[in-house]
Each structure stands twice: as structure tokens, then as C-alpha cells.
């Protein structure tokens, strides 16, 4: 696979920060030196590192962690550059503390040929503020009828395969994709939705949809498809990755399959971890997403699965939409919310601070977890590793507002909320990609 984007050979010294790398078992106050984009020394704080010729960052009171990896972003390019493009989307990623992101192929045209993929990678090389990888479609035009040329796409640098936004409806075609991927060898990432059950669904089917009158999108529409795809993966002996899980039943299917040795991984979004369908009472189109916000028991199960590692990755499913498309009654609005610039802050504020999630677990699931799923180099705090680092201020607070985003779109569910935890600095591929 190929990640494309700007890289650098910065020489930086970060002094006195609390370095936390859960995978390395590191949690200590350190001075850290980066030479030409590579971490060269890690010493106890106050070690009087040679600062000569380096940019010096005072890290006292800040947390230094491996930068984040977002395995699920919509860059809307090609086709809807008014909503997001490679430059703005990766600027947003850098502002959110990410050193690498993966973009989904449901663009216009769909990323289903080596030529479209090649053009994107070419553009990303010069425009992307942090390295970006591109998934290619499983089926041509994401129409669920013919497989794409998966081997050629893999050779052209596809990060994986997904028809995200839609399920692969026909079980026979899903099976063929898994079979063929044994030769193509990239992760297959699945949007699990049984479309005849979710048809007309605006939100989770339950007490809130019953009261508000919205068409229901039942949890079983997801878990049924998760079960089917895991059954096919088990039968074919292939792995798969489950995108943006929302329902308790899906987690139960996942756990059962993992226990049997199926190579299944999964991700969850910040909004599914923090909100429930109760939020839809606001009728705010910025809480409309697919899969929808579900019940409290679903949210709790997702959080539990994130804690125990059954769900190994946090993905934003950053889905920018034009303001005029969201500024309509809920039922007419498109599905999706932005998330790159708020993910860490909101999870820190809503989960870590109240003691529901360890800081180390959060950092791991936002970085090493997703990197491992897609076979990316794991961002780490270790001598010899490229500088993929984020410096976090856990005391600072901020309020997301419509005008404050790097993203071209502002369809965030957190407008006006007070969040604690800011990204002070992002180093991606040895380059200073963001500084507050």
C-alpha cells in the first residue's frame, strides 16, 4: 500500500513532556530529540540535551503521544471539492493530531480503477499535510455487481477495499470478494447494513423513533449483515474489517467470531461512543449519520468492546457536508458528520475524564490499533522511529465553532460544546504538520 503526502526532516527538541506510549509501556517525563525527522534520543526530563540547531518545544505540562491514525475519512475528492479536498481534509487531520489517515472511495467518480487511484495519490504527494492512503472500491462504481480489479488496485497502492456507504448486498458477490482478496491481500472493510431492513430509516428504531415518528433503522439491520459477513469470512478463512459498528448485536457477533479464530477487526466512532438516539430529539441534522446513534445499551457495549480490545480502532468517519445540504429538516439531510478535529478532545472529555476509559487505551485505539489493522507503520515513541508525534494539552479547553475548523465543512455535532484537551503540536512523517 502507499501513503502519499508531505514529509519532512525537522530537527526538534521537546522538553519536559509526559511521554505516553502504551504499546511501548512508556509513561515518563522526558526530553526527546528529533534529528532530520527521526527520533534520535529519549532521555529523562532535565537531561540537558544538546539543543543546537533544533527548534525547541517547551513540553512541560503537556502529554506527548504517538500521533493518531484515522482509518476512516471521507475526503470528498474527486467530485465534491466544495465540501472537502485533500489539502483541507489533511489540514483538519493534522489539527486533530493525526499523522496518517485513510480515505474512503465513495467519491465521484468512485475510486474503482488504478487510474483514479493513481491520480489521487499523485495529488496527495504535494497537497496532503499528513500522509494519506486511499481505499479502493470492492465493486465497480460501488454498485454491488462486478468486482473491481483488486490485484491491480492493490499494486497501484490501494490501502484496502471498501464499498463504504453501502453494503455488498449479494452474499455470492461478498464471497467472491473475500475469495479473490486472498490473492490481492489488502484489508476488506465492510459497511454492514441489510438494506431492506434499513430502508426508509432515519434513525435508530426504538422508543425515540416511535415517539418522534422517524422511520426506524433497526439495530438488527447491522448485526444481521455483520453475522453474514463473518460467516462468509469464517467459511473462506479470510479476514475482514468491520466499519463503524453501532449495535450491541454486532459486537456479540464479532466477539463470537474472534473467539473462533476468525481474523475480524472492527472500529467505532466517537459519536457512537458518546451519544445515543436521545440526541435526535434535538432534530439537529448534525446528529444524523449512518449507522445511526443507537440505544444506551449499544453505546455501553461499544465502549466495553473498545476497552477490552475486541474493537481495536477508533475511526472518525469524518463525513463533510455542505451547509446548505444539512440546513434542512432532518429527513431531507444527508447522513454524516465531521470528526477529525474533535475526536481526541471529545473522547478525552466525555470518556477519559469521567473515568470510563484509560488515557492509555484511548491513545492506543487512536493510533497503534488502526495502524495494525491496515498494516501501517505504528507511530511510536522510540529511538529510530520517524517523528509521528502529537503533543496534547489536557488542561486547555475550547469550543468548536462553525468558523474555527480547518475542514471545509462544519457539520459537527459538537458546535458550541465545551471540550477539554487540545492538540498543541502534530509531527507527521518527520514534519511539523500542525502547531496551535
Amino acid at each position: 500500500m502507499t501513503l502519499a503526502g508531505k514529509s519532512g526532516r525537522e530537527s526538534v527538541v521537546i522538553l519536559g513532556a509526559r511521554a505516553v506510549d502504551p504499546t511501548e509501556g512508556l509513561d515518563a517525563l522526558v526530553d526527546l530529540r528529533i534529528d532530520a525527522g527521526i527520533i534520535s534520543r529519549i532521555e529523562p526530563a532535565g537531561s540537558r540535551l544538546d539543543l543546537n540547531g533544533h527548534r525547541v518545544v517547551e513540553g512541560e505540562g503537556l502529554v506527548l503521544a504517538p500521533a493518531f491514525v484515522d482509518p476512516h475519512v471521507h475526503l470528498r475528492t474527486p467530485g465534491r471539492e466544495d465540501e472537502e479536498d485533500i489539502a483541507s481534509g489533511t489540514r483538519a487531520a493534522a489539527a486533530g493530531g493525526y499523522c496518517a489517515i485513510l480515505a474512503m472511495p465513495n467519491t465521484d467518480p468512485v475510486v474503482d480503477s488504478a487510474s483514479v487511484l493513481g491520480a489521487l495519490l499523485e495529488r496527495a504527494r504535494t497537497q496532503a499535510e499528513v500522509p494519506v492512503g486511499f481505499l479502493a472500491a470492492i465493486t465497480k462504481g460501488q454498485e454491488g455487481e462486478e468486482l473491481t480489479e483488486m490485484i491491480e488496485l492493490a499494486e497501484a497502492g490501494a490501502a484496502g477495499f471498501s464499498d463504504d456507504g453501502r453494503p455488498v448486498v449479494a452474499p455470492s458477490l461478498m464471497r467472491r470478494a473475500l475469495q479473490y482478496n486472498a490473492a490481492a491481500g489488502r484489508p476488506i472493510a465492510l459497511h454492514c447494513e441489510e438494506p431492506t431492513l434499513s430502508r426508509g430509516g432515519q434513525m435508530h428504531e426504538g422508543a425515540v423513533s416511535a415517539e418522534l415518528g422517524f422511520g426506524g433503522y433497526p439495530a438488527v439491520a447491522e448485526s444481521l449483515m455483520v453475522g453474514r459477513d463473518l460467516a462468509l469470512a469464517r467459511y473462506e478463512g479470510e479476514g475482514l474489517h468491520l466499519l463503524h459498528l453501532s449495535a450491541r448485536g454486532s459486537v456479540e457477533e464479532l466477539r463470537a467470531a474472534q473467539a473462533e479464530g476468525v481474523r475480524a477487526t472492527a472500529e467505532v466512532t466517537p459519536h457512537h461512543l458518546c451519544l445515543t438516539d436521545e440526541a435526535v430529539r434535538s432534530l439537529d441534522s448534525n446528529v444524523k449519520m449512518n449507522p445511526p446513534l443507537r440505544a444506551e445499551e449499544d453505546r455501553e457495549t461499544l465502549l466495553e468492546a473498545l476497552r477490552d480490545g475486541s474493537i481495536a480502532a477508533i475511526a472518525t468517519d469524518h463525513a463533510p457536508h455542505a451547509r446548505h445540504e444539512k440546513e434542512v429538516p432532518f429527513e431531507g439531510a444527508p447522513f454524516g458528520v465531521t470528526g477529525l478535529e474533535t475526536a481526541f478532545s471529545v473522547l478525552y472529555t466525555r470518556l477519559v475524564k469521567p473515568g470510563l476509559l484509560e488515557l492509555g487505551t484511548l491513545l492506543e485505539r487512536m493510533s497503534a490499533g488502526p495502524a495494525r489493522i491496515y498494516g501501517l507503520e505504528r507511530p511510536q515513541i522510540a529511538v529510530g522511529a520517524p517523528a509521528n508525534l502529537v503533543l496534547l494539552d489536557l488542561e486547555a479547553t475550547w469550543e468548536p465553532s462553525e468558523t474555527g475548523f480547518q475542514s471545509k465543512s462544519a457539520n459537527s455535532w459538537l458546535l458550541g460544546a465545551t471540550l477539554q484537551g487540545t492538540v498543541a503540536l502534530t509531527l507527521a512523517a518527520g514534519r511539523m504538520a500542525h502547531s496551535a
Binding site: G213, A279, L283, D284, P329
Partner: protein, 332 residues
């Protein structure tokens, strides 16, 4: 309240609390809001017994009716209610307007807002449309039906009708029969009836009783026999267009009528029957029931006028306050 007609002033309840700026959902109301509106409706009802029915109460005020869905009784009764109160009324229908040209609801609201209307009455096929209009105009907004969510003036006129006929609502048992899933009338009425102390049972085919609706505080049954215990049987319109072959909410209209149609022999003597109209005679309700003395269906239409007068009057004769909006923060 200086310009209130003397006839009306006598029976106004003292305002314990500031009224709502808009009437969008029954869920936004407290019991005393409803009591105030019902008392006001009674007052207006008496005024309509006079030979000259027009009151000067809202002279100089402008009411815009914005209807994105077909409607006979709701639009005509809002129009007449405003006229009876001497307001200027402008009615806009979605067909033949800029909406046909693809104008967004926000832009339509901004455009209408330029005329400084005092009230915008809106009916729209999408849930939350009135909230959006409230966000983009300075007018008081009255929801005349938004998608499958709410139709608050229907619920108020039903409460008024029940109170007039049965002397009160507290402690009554009301059965709502039929297609609850697609019914804003049912949702508004469940909330309104529970708010006023009634007990509600929903009766209908399984797929048409929304999963989880009992959380609102009502009970449900798939057995039409459950209506016998009720004081009032409220029959919902069977939305035939949704019952076409292939939808499979019910196997056929024939089977629906056979199992859940409200007929004389399924009722107990003395039970009151209501229907929001328009009726499908011979489908959800049979002719004999629709025309019997205990059917309050025409009473409901008459109540619609005075209740809508009360709603317009109530919104316009109190100072504006901010509408209650559920914050995402609060529920997160």
C-alpha cells in the same frame, strides 16, 4: 393585553408562567398551558354564538399559512380562525410557488420573514420543518402537521371535544385504533391525553404499532377487543396509499377491515367515537359508526375553529420567550 375584547377578558386564566413562543409539539407544553388554551377555546366558542362572529382581537396582525401538503380542514380552519380574529391572512401552497423551483425551506422562511408576519402556520411532510422556520423567522410558528411527528392543534381540538362531551379528561380511558406508525395525530394525542391524566391504549396490527412506543406511557394491543373498555374510541385514518401490495404492513385492506375495522358490534353502547378525518368509510370505520349519535367527528371539526382561534390569540397576546430546544449537550 390592553386591546383585548371585553367579552374575552373575563374568563382568561391569570398567566402563571410565560406561554411558549411557538406551538410546535405537545411535548413542549405543560398541563397548565393546555388548560389555559382549552379555557380560551370555550370563551371563543361562546363568542361564535353571537350574530356577528368577528372579534377585533388580532386586528393588524398578519398570519401566513404555509402548506406543503394537501389539507382541507386544517388549512381552512386556520384561515377562518385568523379571520374571525380580524387578522390579515395570506395562504401559500407549495405547488405554484417558488418551492416548485427548488427553493429550500430556509430560503422560503427568510423570504416570508421579510413581510414581518406575526404567525407562520406550517404544514410540511418532513419532521422538524416548523423548528427550521422558527429558526429563520421572527414569527411565532404553529405546527399544522410535520411529517409523522406532531399535529398539536389536532390534539388540542380533540381534548377540547372530549372535555365538552364528557365533562373532563382526567381518568378517562382512550383507545386509539389503526395505523399508529404513520400517524402524527396519534403521537400528538398520546402525549396530550397522558398530559391531561387520561389512560391510552393503542390498538392495531403489529407492524403498525411502532416498536418501543409504550415508553411514552401508553399500552398497546393487537386485539380489537381491547377497545371495549375505553370511554373514547379514536379511529385513525388508514393511509391506503401506504398499504399497497408489497408494503406488507398488513396482508390486505380486506383483512385489516375484518380484524381492526371499527363496527357497531365491536363497540359498547355509550362509547364515543372520534376520527381526525378524512375518513375511509368501510375501511377503518363503518358507515353506521361514522353516522351514529355518539360519533363526535363533526364536533371535532367545529372544535378545530375555536381551538385554533385560541392558539393564535394565546401566542400573540403574550410577550415572546425563547422556544424550548433540547440541547444535544443535555442528552449526551
Amino acid at each position: 393585553m390592553a386591546d383585548v375584547h371585553p367579552l374575552i377578558r373575563d374568563e382568561l386564566l391569570p398567566p402563571h408562567r410565560p406561554p411558549r413562543r411557538h406551538l410546535i409539539s405537545i411535548a413542549d407544553l405543560e398541563r397548565e398551558d393546555v388548560e389555559r388554551l382549552l379555557a380560551l377555546s370555550r370563551t371563543f366558542s361562546r363568542s361564535l354564538e353571537r350574530e356577528v362572529k368577528k372579534l377585533p382581537a388580532l386586528r393588524g396582525r398578519t398570519v401566513v399559512n404555509l402548506f406543503y401538503e394537501s389539507s382541507t380542514r386544517t388549512s381552512s380552519s386556520f384561515e377562518l380562525a385568523a379571520k374571525r380574529l380580524s387578522a390579515d391572512v395570506m395562504s401559500i401552497k407549495a405547488t405554484g410557488s417558488a418551492v416548485d423551483k427548488g427553493e429550500s425551506l430556509k430560503d422560503t422562511a427568510l423570504t416570508i420573514g421579510c413581510y414581518d408576519p406575526d404567525v407562520v402556520v406550517i404544514r410540511h411532510p418532513e419532521i422538524g420543518a416548523p423548528n427550521l422556520v422558527a429558526l429563520h423567522t421572527n414569527a411565532h410558528v404553529v405546527n399544522a402537521g410535520d411529517g409523522k411527528r406532531q399535529h398539536p392543534t389536532q390534539a388540542l381540538l380533540d381534548l377540547y371535544t372530549i372535555e365538552e362531551e364528557l365533562g373532563g379528561i382526567d381518568g378517562l380511558h382512550v383507545a386509539i385504533v389503526g395505523d399508529v406508525l404513520h400517524s402524527r395525530v396519534a403521537r400528538s394525542n398520546v402525549q396530550a391525553l397522558l398530559l391531561m391524566g387520561a389512560r391510552v391504549t393503542l390498538v392495531g396490527p403489529p407492524a403498525l404499532i411502532p416498536r418501543g412506543i409504550e415508553a411514552m406511557g401508553c399500552t398497546s394491543s393487537h386485539d380489537i377487543g381491547a377497545i371495549r373498555g375505553a370511554d373514547v374510541v379514536y379511529v385513525l385514518r388508514m393511509q391506503k396509499e401506504r398499504m399497497l401490495a408489497g408494503a406488507n404492513y398488513v396482508p390486505s385492506l380486506r383483512e385489516y377491515t375484518a380484524r381492526w375495522g371499527v363496527t357497531r358490534d365491536r363497540l359498547r353502547p355509550g362509547q364515543k367515537v372520534m376520527h381526525p378525518g378524512p375518513m375511509n368509510r368501510g375501511v377503518e370505520i363503518d358507515d353506521e359508526v361514522a353516522d351514529m349519535a355518539d360519533a363526535l367527528i363533526e364536533r371535532q371539526v367545529r372544535s378545530g375553529l375555536v381551538v385554533r382561534m385560541a392558539v393564535l390569540y394565546d401566542l400573540l397576546t403574550h410577550g415572546p420567550i425563547e422556544v424550548k430546544v433540547a440541547e444535544i449537550e443535555a442528552v449526551a
